[in-house]
Symmetry: C2
Subunit: 345 residues, 2 copies
């Protein structure tokens, strides 16, 4: 009788504990994506275009969420979400990337695993369908963190990644964008102040810092970040922005947060933006939201660094902070939240 | 009489103030250089070679110091010092750079001004005699921070930098080094652990992380950092290390410190090494030395990140910290200090 009672107690305790664990864990797994930030104004948007952007964000969010829902890792989730955005011609990454001044599509991507600070990145690749998967291959199948250009392409190819003709990345919309930007840029002037020369950008212009990114927190409380971009329209001279730079456009550390940035790359680099958020949390004990606001709304604004970021911590707290008109963004969590937004509140 | 007295008082006050300023300032201007770190063992060094390294470091130190001594900026000083090291075939930067697996010399460099967080960098350039000056041109003559490959070369050329035939960088010594490393590398195995796959390096091997760098504090209490490298011998796939990455191998911020790193690039990237030192000072209020030790002797050691760094703050405090056998290094300050060293104490 005593034995039966003990077994029953054990059963009860185990069940309650399992339920408690499940409910606790379910609050924790969270998927977040972004599709770029900038002067995204409702007045410049058609209802059809808005709908298409929302659908694009939702499907990336869903892809990442499904991974988490099956008990998959944050790392797998962010890669899955970013691949969907890379395939979507609406967003400036993979298919749909903007053109350089030479009429090419040069792609950058980075990924980082908060669990072990493993990181990988590629820059200036032109033949890899999913640059984010190339970044992951660099992280997992090489002793390196960053590879660029032809070398990175060779490595990706040797590691079985899907190679496409550079023409694959062509879209009519982006080609017209290059034409427009070429005309605009010829009118722009550099105001070379004592810090980096700054591009003067017209206030009301519908400019966007096209980048896509994802951060996630999985059921095991690991976090990861991924970012992918086609860079700036009409970019010259092999310019590299913040996206593929670890600690700058992309960072993940289970101690603090996982972050993917989108914005005017140069100030983000000079601010070492993503790592600064992490350090404000680790050393100054700011909350995730406070740290993100300090970097995006104070430091970057002071440096004329327009843009934003998405961030998550291992408790599943999420911050979506931007200092411009809008940021394509979405959050889906295991407690039922599913939010997609474009403009500021 | 009163007027004469007043003038005399003014003269006295001005003179005393100027002297006070000079004596105060003179304690402050300091030049620091490094020429790489690693398993640099006395047993592997000939007296002639040792003498040549010491002389190379001294002449770079002197070049930077002379700039500061004339009231020049920390930025000018670090560029001058690094140019001397780039011209010296003993060091792995500019002339004397190591070869990639394809038998090319691909050069990386970065520079940062602590006064205004302006930064510039180039990676994978093959025709610029002084990559550090190309990095400075990116900082001052473009709206960008980082440029790579052919684009960076075109930019440098358009901005009047000295262009050389890639053969200029060839040295017999480095070519033999490539041969040796090719043989060694074919014997190495990747142990792909859960973090980035790590190269196994023989304990007793005389391997060096060839990088050169400089930090300085000028008479106006501004600080700056510069780093230049040929990367890793036999590097493949367009691999980029920490040197040209802002916040990682190179960082400067008048609020905290200026830093140039040298070491096994990958862990330095994953640790966001230079910026981490800065954040430990800014947010955790560690001293320069404490912050450098925390990053180099604790965090990097934990990540198997062999190497070191040189650092300075606006008070002219200097830290030279490394977790390997030796680091080519030198310090010269306006209070008469002139130190060159190679091995650990």
């Amino acid at each position: 009788m005593k034995k039966i009672f003990s077994l029953f107690t054990l059963f009860l305790v185990t069940t309650v504990f399992a339920q408690k664990q499940t409910s606790e864990k379910q609050q924790r797994f969270v998927m977040v994506v972004h599709g770029g930030a900038g002067t995204i104004l409702k007045k410049n948007m058609t209802p059809e275009k808005e709908k298409a952007y929302m659908a694009g964000l939702q499907s990336a969010l869903m892809a990442g969420y499904m991974v988490l829902n099956k008990g998959g890792s944050a790392l797998d989730a962010v890669e899955s979400a970013v691949k969907i955005l890379e395939d979507n011609p609406l967003f400036n990454a993979g298919k749909g990337a903007v053109f350089t001044s030479e009429g090419r599509n040069e792609l950058d991507a980075a990924i980082m695993n908060g669990k072990n600070l493993a990181a990988g990145s590629v820059a200036s690749v032109t033949t890899i369908r999913h640059p984010i998967s190339a970044a992951r291959a660099v992280m997992e199948k090489s002793p390196h963190v960053m590879m660029i250009g032809k070398g990175a392409e060779t490595f990706a190819e040797q590691n079985g990644l899907e190679v496409v003709d550079p023409k694959y990345f062509y879209t009519e919309e982006r080609w017209r964008g290059l034409d427009r930007t070429r005309k605009d840029d010829s009118l722009k002037k550099f105001s070379s102040d004592s810090s980096n020369a700054m591009l003067t950008i017209k206030e009301d212009q519908d400019h966007k810092f096209g980048t896509v990114g994802a951060v996630a927190c999985d059921i095991l409380e690991n976090i990861a970040a991924a970012t992918s971009t086609g860079g700036m329209t009409n970019k010259q001279y092999g310019r590299i922005g913040d996206s593929p730079l670890i600690g700058i456009g992309t960072y993940a550390n289970n101690k603090t947060c996982a972050i993917s940035c989108t914005g005017h790359g140069e100030p983000f680099i000079r601010a070492v933006a993503a790592h600064d958020v992490s350090c404000l949390m680790e050393y100054k004990h700011l909350s995730l939201q406070q740290a993100c606001e300090e970097v995006v709304l104070n430091k970057l604004v002071e440096m004329k660094g327009e843009g934003g970021l998405i961030a998550i911590d291992t408790a599943g707290n999420v911050s979506l902070v931007f200092n411009c008109a809008g940021m394509y963004r979405g959050v889906k969590s295991s407690d039922g939240k599913n939010q997609i937004a474009i403009y500021g509140d």
